[in-house]
């Protein structure tokens, strides 16, 4: 599904190398987690994969189902099936949540040569997804993320993911700023989307999210590289002992 090889990335504006050779292979149906201390490059990886400006790939490659992601515009990556759940979802005053969702769904369909979703099908789908994520009608009417609480913003991300049905989902610190109940709700939303044909990359600081979204593989990232890979037990090790031991071990 997602294949990253020897990816090197620096900031465009300054001479600062952030990713120093990331290798990662996520197969369809798998959930991978990336954990790591602040500044290790986790979020940069998610931005580079989704096509945010400000980064320069100096070496390596990233492909989604064999297609070169790095050559594509952000919207092309989305249409190809990549989805990033933002750590800080952006507020867009003046653009209604429903208008935004419908525009996105139909833009992706158009890009893939599919027919647009009819207004009634769309409404039905949104209502069903919204209900699962406890998103009320009022929230759907409001401008995108404006005045949403932290939990509402994250649920809104998951709802977008559910509506867009991507192949590869990247969740960038989706647990940040969430209380336990909100985290459970978000995790349920994610788990409902787990399927044979879909891959997940869950970026997080803490093990607690992984209690709810059970990963198949856990990677530890430090200083722009994946330094250790293991099963779910690796996350527990981080939880109990912090990153210190692992980093010392691989140093």
């Amino acid at each position: 599904m997602l294949s990253i090889k020897n990816l090197h990335v620096k900031l465009e504006e300054e001479d600062k190398q952030i990713l120093k050779g990331v290798d990662l292979q996520i197969n369809a149906g798998e959930v991978h987690a990336i954990m790591g201390p602040n500044g290790s490059g986790k979020s940069t990886l998610s931005y580079v994969l989704s096509g945010k400006d400000g980064y320069e790939v100096t070496q390596g490659e990233a492909a989604l189902e064999g297609a070169d992601l790095l050559e594509m515009e952000p919207e092309e990556r989305a249409a190809a099936g990549l989805f990033l759940a933002f750590q800080y979802p952006v507020e867009i005053p003046g653009v209604g949540n429903m208008t935004f969702l419908r525009t996105a769904v139909n833009a992706q369909r158009k890009a893939r040569g599919e027919a647009e979703m009819s207004a009634s099908d769309f409404l039905k789908a949104v209502r069903a997804r919204a209900k699962e994520l406890k998103i009320d009608a009022e929230m759907l009417k409001r401008p995108v993320n404006v005045g949403f609480s932290g939990g509402e913003k994250k649920r809104n991300e998951i709802m977008q993911m559910a509506m867009l049905e991507p192949k590869m989902c990247i969740l960038d610190e989706t647990d940040s700023g969430l209380d336990v109940d909100a985290m459970k709700l978000v995790a349920e939303g994610v788990n409902a989307l787990r399927s044979e044909g879909r891959g997940f990359l869950v970026i997080t600081h803490y093990q607690r999210l992984l209690d709810h979204i059970k990963p198949d593989v856990v990677h530890i990232m430090a200083d722009g590289r994946i330094v250790k890979t293991g099963g779910p037990e690796l996350a527990l090790e981080v939880e109990n002992n912090g990153y210190g031991d692992i980093l010392a071990e691989v140093a």
Partner: protein, 426 residues
């Protein structure tokens, strides 16, 4: 002393092309306007009130020729039942117009009312004259003195059908002048729509007297001929608990100066003035607003949004004057521009002058580029860059467009803006 002389010669040049209608009830007002105009002269570049907008092409003897707009997009406001009044290059077109009758109102043409007594005598040139202080507005005085035609609307009841003034532009060298007077009696209601480029050069004045409890809505779409020029003035006087709401869409036009002068003279009156303008390239748009609070508990809002690209220029001069006894005034003023490139510019002069001590007034003026984070967010969801930019641009304009209460009209304005953005990408 050479400079005033040059100014006088501009006025003489302009006047040499005009003929003042004489006789009838408007005679005294026209003569008065002409003498006021002679005292002030026409605006020139040194005029503080014209610091950001060069008046030359609006004041010179002959208009700069303007090509006609060659887009086959249908006319705006077409979906509404309305009383249509059509002017072609400033000349009334009886065949294209509806009968000038309607329930709850009397419509007449300025050119056809020649009697010595007419209700409009108390308003014609009167609100305009009152709006000349503290700042002179010579183009409006010129209009009062010379406008050959216009409509006089006396509204006695709640009128459901809007009066739709349509200004066609068919001659590339036309120089049009119209003067409308609208009087709403106590409790009366009317919506006036205006659309079209009108002429190569258009000078228009609309005087609106809104009596106690009356409600006036105005929605205007200025014509899209790229080379047209317009100087328009609205003078409104508001009575107790009356409402005045005006919205203007400006897409294209090489030169537009829209002045709006409002006096809140009755307690608890409401005045909203809004504008959305979109300009690409050779485009200069100036919104100049002056709102005077002269009564207790009134509310005024000014909401102006401009989208500018390829060297387009936007100007906003907006003032709220709160007189000594206008306590409990609620004044709001926002003027913002979205600059889609580095070549465009926005010049703003927001002013508050407050003499009462118990008021709430706020104002803000900003100019900025598209929000890159929002753009990336939309694109990351699959919305192509051009559509995402359009969506964010419409969102930026929304605060102004949302000032239109009628949903059908609001939608029509939004559709027109969306179509414009699609035509002016990249």
């Amino acid at each position: 002393m050479a400079e005033p002389a040059a100014n006088i010669s501009v006025l003489d040049g302009r006047l040499s092309r005009l003929e003042r209608p004489t006789g009838g009830w408007s005679d005294a007002a026209r003569a008065d306007a002409l003498s006021r105009l002679r005292a002030t002269g026409l605006p020139d570049r040194r005029d503080e009130y014209w610091k950001y907008t060069r008046p030359d092409t609006l004041t010179q003897a002959d208009p700069v020729p303007a090509a006609l707009f060659d887009n086959d997009e249908g006319p705006i406001f077409g979906d509404m039942a309305r009383i249509q009044i059509v002017f072609v290059d400033g000349v009334f077109d009886a065949d294209a117009s509806d009968d000038l009758v309607g329930e709850g109102l009397i419509i007449e043409r300025l050119a056809e009312t020649q009697a010595d007594i007419h209700w409009a005598r108390d308003l014609y040139g009167k609100l305009e004259a009152s709006g000349q202080s503290p700042v002179a507005r010579p183009l409006a005085a010129l209009n009062t003195a010379f406008a050959p035609d216009g409509v006089l609307i006396h509204v006695t009841g709640k009128v459901s059908k809007p009066v739709s003034l349509q200004y066609h532009h068919r001659s590339e060298t036309s120089d049009a002048m119209l003067h409308h007077v609208i009087r709403l009696d106590e409790g009366a209601e009317l919506t006036v729509l205006e659309n079209g480029p009108a002429a190569a050069r258009f000078n228009k004045v609309m005087e609106v007297d809104v009596a106690d409890g009356a409600v006036f809505h105005h929605v205007r779409a200025q014509g899209r001929d790229h080379e047209r020029r317009a100087a328009t003035h609205i003078f409104a006087r508001l009575g107790t608990e009356s409402t005045f709401k005006s919205f203007t869409l400006t897409a294209n036009g090489v030169m537009t100066r829209n002045e709006c002068v409002i006096e809140l003279t009755g307690n608890d009156a409401i005045a909203h003035v809004a504008g959305a303008c979109v300009g690409d390239g050779d485009f200069h748009h100036d919104d100049t607003v002056f709102i005077t609070h002269d009564a207790v508990g009134c509310e005024s809002r000014q909401v102006f949004k401009k989208v500018l690209r390829n060297g387009a220029t936007g100007v906003f001069q907006g003032k709220i004057l709160v007189k000594k006894d206008a306590q409990k005034t609620d004044g709001y003023q926002i003027s913002q521009s979205l600059l889609l490139d580095d070549d465009s510019q926005f010049l703003a002069k927001p002013e508050l002058e407050i003499y009462a001590d118990d008021v709430a007034c706020s104002h803000g003026s900003t100019s900025g580029a598209i929000d890159e984070d929002a753009l990336f967010y939309l694109r990351s969801r699959g919305v192509p860059e051009a559509s995402a930019t359009d969506l964010l641009t419409l969102a930026f304009l929304a605060e102004a467009v949302d000032e239109i209460e009628n949903e059908t009209l609001r939608e029509e304005i939004n559709e027109r803006l969306a179509a414009w953005l699609e035509r002016h990408r990249g």
